[in-house]
């Protein structure tokens, strides 16, 4: 091995074996710490109230787009075999690829509208923080590289399941095997690295609202009443004694 390749190795090692853990642990520690200490800051920070029209053209395509894409990535990671099996029929492969691409375009269009809205509307501008701009920039980079990968290194749903999915699994079992990713094209690598940055910065930004999506709403009763004591027993003498 020559001197040169060793440096490159260290490079790869840092980006693909150190950074992911750094990102993941920061993510875990800070989200938990923020939730327990500063849970108040977990909010969508919606600005729809201040600007109600452009909001639709930004937020709706963005969220539908990114959810489709995230779901696709998750599938490739969790059930790579089934995805490959599905893709064995070219027609089905097309369907998957086109869906993913359209999702990407939606995300991009949404993001661009979000940027325009936050620049153009003076009220929306007031509630836009530096952290927001950082998140938006990384997301823009992320979606653009993703779309470029889809164009220049097509059939991603195929090779993702074969190379990146095993790489992620190797990370997850604390036995990182970066040999899966080192041969991949630069675009793909950039896409992965920027994803790690997103995870790393996640707990410091508004992205935390993803963690508080209101799923219990789907099964809770419509009306909520809070009692701080057992109302059937509160007036009985035993109850008062017991509490002391």
């Amino acid at each position: 091995m020559t001197q040169n390749t060793t440096i490159l190795d260290y490079f790869n090692l840092f980006w693909f074996a150190v950074l992911p853990y750094l990102a993941l642990f920061t993510f875990l520690l800070v989200t938990i710490q923020r939730y327990t200490r500063r849970g108040f800051t977990y909010t969508s920070l919606s600005s729809q109230f201040l600007e109600n029209k452009m909001h639709f053209w930004g937020l709706v395509p963005f969220h539908y787009g990114i959810l489709t894409i995230l779901f696709g990535h998750l599938l490739g990671f969790l059930i790579p075999r089934q995805v490959m099996l599905w893709n064995s029929d070219p027609l089905r492969l097309y369907v998957l690829e086109v869906t993913a691409f359209v999702g990407g375009i939606f995300t991009l269009v949404g993001l661009v509208n979000i940027v325009l809205r936050r620049l153009a509307d003076p009220r929306a501008k007031v509630v836009t923080s530096t952290a927001d701009w950082i998140v938006i920039s990384i997301l823009l980079f992320q979606v653009s590289t993703g779309l470029l990968v889809a164009i220049f290194n097509s059939w991603g749903s195929f090779w993702y399941a074969a190379s990146i999915s095993p790489y992620f699994w190797s990370l997850l079992v604390f036995n990182p095997n970066i040999a899966y990713v080192t041969p991949l094209p630069l675009l793909v690598k950039l896409h992965i690295i920027s994803a790690y940055f997103l995870v790393l910065l996640f707990p410091f930004t508004r992205l935390v609202h993803i963690l508080v999506v209101p799923n219990p709403y789907l099964w809770r009763k419509p009306q909520l009443v809070r009692w701080y004591w057992n109302r059937r027993k509160i007036r009985t003498p035993e109850y008062l004694v017991k509490r002391k």
Binding site: G39, H209, R226
Partner: protein, 496 residues
């Protein structure tokens, strides 16, 4: 029977002078912070008028409240299935433009202006962006019918009137209006609670006050659209919703809420009502014209031994039951039946009731003399300036007989008191009127007393706070602070 206690309110509209003292008292205490400048937890509207936010009663526009669908109650704006689609962009959420852009003035320009020939002026600046703005609307833009062809004409309740009645209402010498102060109704079937995806809004078990847990609110804004009275507001600065808390810290220390305490016209009454929580759903589903009566049925008689027993069993303290027995609200709503709920057709079962405004004595001016339009003291109800249909739409879901009953009783009482004190009406006529209005002499006296000679303690029968249920005994008070809808453990600044 599941008896619960609810702190309820009555506003006597005949006494409201439209001074807005209540709104200011509230604003000074609760909503003078960044992000809440535009919020008026208490506001006073001129009716007919479009109100605040503009045309809030128009549910085709705002989709607030409940509707009956296949025998079930459904929120108009959202629901379990629809929440997923509504959460990114809520299609029914009012924006700042439906309220107004709050502003202040650049007062320092008055002092720092260079010497010149013109008087310096303080120009208005937006309290959101800090930039100069042209003021286009405010929370009371149509106060006292100002600009009525533009504003009052758009009042959604006018749809109940015929073209002729509308023309009559707006004919200049017949122009009529009354004030309509509003706070959160602390409803029994609140749409805001049912719409909240995070489960952050709740009714306090002990007194039914509806609060938004600031810690758990995630800014999904569903309550804003769902509340048909538009009494939940979005704080654009903290990214959380806030609403009237009925000044519970004052109530817990035996004081009346600030808007009640400061009310110049003394129009406000507050007291406990006991109700049967098991029947809420059934009652809220009744047909429109039965709703007023059905809600009254839900309110239980606090003197009935069976009710008292059930109340004790569900942990209601004896002195709270006693407060319920003395409650002025119970008298107005249930015994005398002269207080009506606002827009009960929204089916949230509001617990703030209104004594509708009486019609002013009507006369006309034919160019030479002022002519009385009626024989007696008061005009015929059907020839009244404010058509019964209008009040019926506002306070009885279109069941005009309910309004007619109230107005008749009020007229009879006034005639009766006139007979007693002035003597230009004979007692026989007065008593006949009382009889026709379903009112005994004792009742007339009692209503008269509680309406015009009421003391502070008669208007506000506040149930005593119980130390054994005080929150500091159950929970870390600091931790509790944010969950009661106001008060922050952390700096209430926008999250990152």
């Amino acid at each position: 029977m599941d008896i619960r206690s609810q702190i309820s309110m009555v506003f006597h509209l005949d006494k409201c002078i439209g001074c807005h003292t209540c709104s200011i008292a509230c604003k000074n205490i609760w909503t003078d912070r960044r992000g809440t400048e535009y919020m008026w937890w208490n506001n006073v509207e001129t009716k007919p008028g479009t109100g605040y936010p503009t045309k809030w009663e128009d549910q085709d526009k705002y989709q607030g409240g409940w509707e009956k669908k296949n025998g079930k109650l459904k929120l108009r704006s959202t629901g379990k299935g629809r929440i997923i689609f509504n959460i990114f962009h809520n299609p029914h959420q009012p924006g700042l433009n439906d309220y107004y852009e709050p502003w202040t003035y650049k007062y320092d320009e008055l002092f720092n202006a260079p010497e010149g020939n013109d008087q310096p002026t303080a120009r208005p600046i937006s309290m959101i962006t800090g930039k100069y703005i042209d003021i286009e609307a405010g929370p009371n833009w149509d106060d006292d019918l100002s600009g009525s062809p533009v504003y009052a004409k758009n009042d959604p309740n006018l749809s109940a009137l015929t073209a002729e009645q509308k023309a009559q209402l707006f004919a200049i010498e017949r122009l009529v209006f009354f004030y309509f102060p509003r706070i959160c109704n602390h409803c029994l079937n609140p749409a805001c609670v049912a719409a909240c995806p995070s489960g952050a809004i709740y009714k306090r078990g002990e007194d039914g006050i509806v609060l938004i847990d600031q810690e758990r609110c995630r800014g999904w804004r569903s309550c804003i659209a769902a509340c048909p009275y538009k009494k939940s507001y979005y704080n654009w600065n903290t990214g959380k919703s806030e609403k009237c808390i009925l000044c519970f810290p004052r109530l817990e220390t035996g004081q009346a809420p600030a808007c009640f305490h400061s009310c110049v016209g003394r129009i406000r009454y507050l007291g406990v009502l006991l109700y049967d929580a098991d029947r809420i759903d059934e009652i809220a589903k009744k047909p429109d014209e039965e709703l007023v009566e059905a809600q009254r049925e839900l309110i239980m008689n606090p003197h009935d031994p069976a009710v008292i027993k059930a109340a004790r069993e569900s942990g209601i303290a004896d002195d709270v039951i006693k407060a319920a027995q003395e409650s002025p609200v119970y008298k107005f709503v249930k015994e005398w039946k002269i207080a009506l709920p606002p827009h009960i057709e929204f089916r949230t079962l509001p617990m703030l009731f209104y004594v509708p405004a009486m019609l002013p004595v009507m006369s006309s001016f034919d160019g030479k003399t002022v002519k009385n339009m009626s024989e007696g003291l008061f005009p015929d109800l059907d020839k009244a300036r404010a058509p019964i249909e209008y009040l019926g739409k506002l306070f009885a879901a279109g069941n005009n007989s309910k309004v007619r009953y109230v107005l008749k009783k009020q007229m009879a009482i006034r005639t009766y008191r006139r007979a007693v004190t002035v003597g230009d009406v004979d007692m026989e006529t007065a008593e006949r009127m009382l009889l026709e209005a379903d009112c005994s002499v004792q009742e007339a006296e009692a209503i008269y007393k509680l309406t015009s000679l009421c003391t502070f303690n008669e208007r506000f029968v506040i149930p005593p706070a119980h130390r054994e249920e005080a929150i500091e005994m159950m929970k870390d008070p600091l931790e509790h602070k944010q969950s009661v809808g106001f008060g922050f453990r952390e700096e209430p600044k926008r999250g990152l």
